[in-house]
């Protein structure tokens, strides 16, 4: 994973590339400061939209999850208490530290009232059901 600092000069290009490859309704909106943390994967099924956030070592109480209209936002602060010890020499510091926020625009088809969020093994999995009337239905054909 490339650090946020390294990514910064290319963030413009990044946005353009994303708009080419991903439908606009799913494009994560970039925050002004920490844009790349945490990494996100989004998958869809006929019944739901599933968002996975890769956020290792957090206390779930320190993660704020808000859905407003069709915007899903995940924010919080990642502290690394073990890192702030003065009698230690540091050789490498790659892990993300500080506050983060990522915002995802959800498609119009979701029912934000039925959202489930589970934090397991450092991955926050948010599952948002699609509205019943937008789910594909199989229609029986009767023969005459």
């Amino acid at each position: 994973m490339i650090s946020n600092m390294l990514r910064f000069p290319f963030s413009m290009l990044d946005n353009e590339m994303e708009s080419l490859f991903y439908p606009t309704s799913f494009r994560p909106l970039k925050g002004s400061m920490q844009s790349a943390y945490p990494p996100i994967n989004i998958s869809t099924t006929d019944k739901s939209v599933d968002v996975y956030l890769f956020l290792a070592g957090m206390n779930p109480d320190d993660i704020e999850l808000v859905i407003e209209k069709n915007m899903l936002s995940v924010s919080g602060e990642r502290k690394l208490p073990d890192a702030t010890n003065n009698d230690k020499a540091s050789y490498r510091q790659e892990r993300f530290q500080g506050s983060f926020k990522r915002v995802i625009t959800l498609p119009e088809t979701v029912d934000t009232e039925s959202t489930h969020a589970v934090y397991k093994d450092g991955v926050l999995h948010i599952s948002i059901a699609k509205r019943e009337e937008t789910q594909p239905k199989q229609i029986k054909i009767s023969a005459k």
């Binding site: 994560p28 998958s43 890769f54 450092g122």
Partner: protein, 126 residues
């Protein structure tokens, strides 16, 4: 004519799987070295920590709860295996590694061999 085919076949068999490099912090103290790895999605069951001579290998598989017929829509994490190797200095005691995994965050503590630990010498006043 055959040689060409052979070469292609060899390349294919040596192709390595795509792996992610976990973000890592390393700290050193008098007692030893502490390493921290970010391995989101890796559980105790899918994590392998291996020391072969002086090479420490961390390998973990991301195991997500998925539903049937999922279609990826947006992807930041493009592989499902983390892997990273480190060479351990010979002053470290690789038989005494302590590992702790909590919510995808791995902490490894490797102590120094006793003879390399600093000793305090008491001076007697004659």
């Amino acid at each position: 004519m055959n040689a060409e085919n052979k070469e292609v076949a060899t390349q294919e068999s040596t192709a390595e799987e795509i792996t992610l490099t976990p973000d890592t912090d390393i700290y050193e103290s008098k007692e030893g070295v502490t390493l921290f790895f970010d391995l989101p999605g890796v559980s105790k069951e899918t994590l392998d920590i291996d020391v072969d001579q002086d090479i420490l290998t961390i390998k973990g598989k991301i195991d997500l709860t998925t539903a049937k017929n999922m279609q990826p829509t947006y992807i930041d994490v493009r592989a499902n295996v983390f892997e990273r190797r480190f060479t351990l200095g010979d002053e470290l005691d690789s038989s005494q590694i302590v590992a702790k995994l909590d919510q995808g965050a791995l902490k490894l503590s490797i102590p120094r061999l006793e003879k390399h630990q600093p000793k305090k010498i008491n001076i007697k006043v004659a």
